[in-house]
């Protein structure tokens, strides 16, 4: 803006003194650019309008008040920094509040004061800024071109092809490097989509036994006889992979205990044990952990998009965007009474992918009981 150094305290001065760099109120020439030709149909650009003294005084008081607040805020910041020491969470909380509050007050006061100053104290006028060509003048441009060519000649990059070509050869692999790195973001070509089709439940343990079901969080195996309260639910992970997040992303289960008479035809009873059913925890919509279980309605709800599955009826979809039921895992008990997985999920878990096809239909055709 302009350097507003006229003294607004001067009494009864209707028109303020001419400010350096502003047009005189008598003429309406703009400061920058050329005077616009006046046409009849163009609205006449008004010249400088000085603020009337009453408004200016009011503005001055407001702005001064804001600056005073900013001053106090700044002092307060320094004081807060000294007074409120950080330490435990409560102390740090108070310190943060004091520092942030006082700094806000200081900066906001300054900004509000300046804005009030501009709006209420300074005179008003319209500015017209003419555009000018962006390019530099010819002299400068030719000088730059000369310098450039001189550098090229001195370096010999045009005259010495060996240097030029080896430099290009040096830079090319570096340019290719990001492409190689990006390739890894795609599906791995070696075991895709087998990676999506199978979970670790299908693998045997080192000593050739089927994998036990382990309670997530406590790490203990589950005796079928202990999991005996109807309406019970557990989050379950495979033995040996309790903390392998890559495996758990596909293999985590929810284990639900029913009264045997509650189970409906959609559930494969051969894969249950004494009313205990295991479903994949990975929602078939986009793979959120679907585990909000209501024991009264037997509904499994996925928190992301409200897909609802009927756990008593093979986890079939009863609401929401999921297109397929949560896959059921075949479970049984071993000789010690612990729950084990007898096989992998019959269909791929989680959201759909292109190569998946209609896995459920294939399972049905291959004669698995439904």
């Amino acid at each position: 803006m302009t350097d507003n150094n006229h003294d607004i305290e001067q009494p009864e001065e209707r028109a303020p003194k001419r400010v350096i760099g502003t047009p005189s109120p008598a003429t309406s020439t703009s400061i920058l650019g050329h005077e616009e030709p006046r046409k009849a149909d163009v609205v006449q650009v008004p010249g400088v309008t000085p603020q009337d003294e009453a408004t200016a005084r009011k503005g001055e008081r407001y702005a001064a008040l804001c600056f005073l607040v900013a001053f106090l805020g700044g002092i307060g910041f320094v004081v807060s920094y000294v007074v409120f020491q950080v330490g435990d969470i409560e102390k740090t909380q108070v310190s943060n509040l004091a520092l942030g509050g006082t700094l806000t007050l200081a900066l906001l006061g300054l900004a509000a004061g300046l804005t009030t100053w501009v709006r209420l104290v300074m005179p008003k006028y319209n500015l017209v800024q003419e555009r000018h060509p962006m390019a530099s003048d010819t002299q400068t441009r030719s000088y730059v071109a000369e310098t450039f060519l001189q550098g090229a000649n001195e370096s010999g990059i045009a005259k010495r092809p060996l240097l030029r070509r080896t430099l290009l050869a040096a830079a090319a692999p570096l340019g290719l490097a990001p492409l190689v790195l990006l390739r890894d973001l795609g599906p791995s070509h070696t075991n895709f989509p087998a990676k999506l089709r199978h979970t670790v439940w299908g693998e045997k343990t080192k000593d050739g036994k089927p994998r036990k079901l382990i309670v997530e969080g406590s790490g203990s195996p589950i005796r079928a006889a202990d999991f005996n309260s109807p309406g019970g639910i557990l989050s379950v992970v495979p033995e040996g992979y309790e903390h392998d997040l890559n495996a758990l992303a596909k293999a985590t289960l929810i284990l639900i205990k029913f009264r045997p008479e509650e189970l409906k035809s959609g559930t494969n009873l051969n894969w249950t044990h004494d009313g205990i059913v295991a479903y994949s925890k990975i929602c078939t919509h986009v793979g959120c952990p679907a585990a909000l279980y209501e024991q009264t309605t037997h509904h499994i709800l996925c928190p992301c998009h409200q897909s609802t599955f009927d756990a008593a009826d093979g986890a079939k979809v009863i609401f929401g965007p999921a297109a397929r039921p949560l896959p059921q895992l075949p479970i049984a008990v071993d000789s010690e009474g612990y729950l084990i997985a007898t096989a992998d999920f019959p269909v791929p878990v989680g959201p759909s992918f292109w190569e998946r096809g209609d896995a459920e239909a294939e399972v049905r055709e291959n004669g698995a009981q439904q």
Binding site: T55, G231, I233, L292, E294, T296, L301
Partner: protein, 271 residues
């Protein structure tokens, strides 16, 4: 020995109660011996509080039987209470959920009924326990958060509870208007009882799968996280970036817009 003296105006009431209690003791004893012996029913009797059962039956008939049936056999309005156990009664009544204000799947927490106090809850629980056993009220030792291990409890809580109750127990929505309540007001004992009884839509986590020690760890985590201050000042419901983002966008951007409007507004020029 806690002698109950309330509500015995009639001189014959004492004998009636005694007879009833004796009959109940006999009945419960045979049931307890014939079916899997319920240690809790035994305990109730062994503690010499057999009259609790009788008093509890009275209370039950006054306040509960209209929905749960005269013998707690269940009606169209309410489920049977045979086998739900003392823990279930203690949870539902002490948290004000029962007696229910409105029929429905959700039993909201509310101030308990005027007749509810430590003694009446104990009597009612003893009566319901006598009907067919069930989970017993946990001891003070079992629910003492100070004795639990927060980090272990947090791991279990994150695996089995946060899907409904949120990572700091702020609660969350379920299907058809039901919701998992926040855990801010629940006492340590109520948290334990909820796990073993599965109130309303909540699943059951029995003691043989999540051991009492593990439950105590979880209680320690819940109580611990409840006492954590909010570093930002306001917790905004502690449900994560949703509320935080909403406040930032609505309040913050509104303020910025207003400031921009004020700075650039054209004042009416003086004539």
């Amino acid at each position: 020995m806690n002698r109950i003296t309330a509500g015995r105006r009639h001189p014959l009431a004492r004998y009636a109660v005694l007879l009833l209690a004796l009959g109940l003791i006999g009945g419960v004893y045979t049931v307890a011996l014939s079916i899997s012996p319920s240690r809790q029913a035994d305990a109730a009797i062994a503690s010499g509080r057999a009259d609790d059962v009788a008093e509890g039956k009275k209370l039950f008939e006054q306040s509960c039987s209209s929905c749960h049936g005269l013998n707690a056999e269940g009606t169209a309005q309410g489920p049977t209470l045979v086998g739900v156990g003392a823990a279930s009664v203690d949870f539902q009544v002490s948290s004000g959920r029962m007696p229910l204000a409105n029929p429905g799947a959700q039993a909201p927490r509310k101030p308990p009924a005027p007749w509810v106090n430590e003694d009446t809850v104990r009597q009612l629980a003893a009566y319901v326990q006598s009907l067919g056993g069930g989970p017993a009220i946990p001891t003070d030792e079992q629910v003492d958060a100070a004795k639990g291990d927060k980090s272990k409890g947090g791991e279990l809580f994150r695996a089995n509870c946060i899907q409904c109750h949120n990572f700091v127990g702020s609660g969350g929505a379920l299907t058809q208007g039901k919701y998992a309540p926040p855990l801010h007001d629940a006492t340590e004992r109520q948290i334990y009882e909820a796990m073993i009884t599965g109130p309303q839509a909540m699943p059951v986590f029995n003691d043989s799968i999540i051991t009492p020690e593990q439950k105590r760890d979880m209680i320690a985590y819940i109580v611990g996280v409840r006492e954590e201050p909010n570093p930002g000042g306001a917790g905004l419901g502690r449900i994560g970036p949703v509320t935080e983002g909403l406040v930032a966008w609505v309040v913050g951007l509104s303020l910025l817009s207003l400031a921009a409007i004020w700075i650039t507004a054209k004042r009416r020029q003086a004539k």
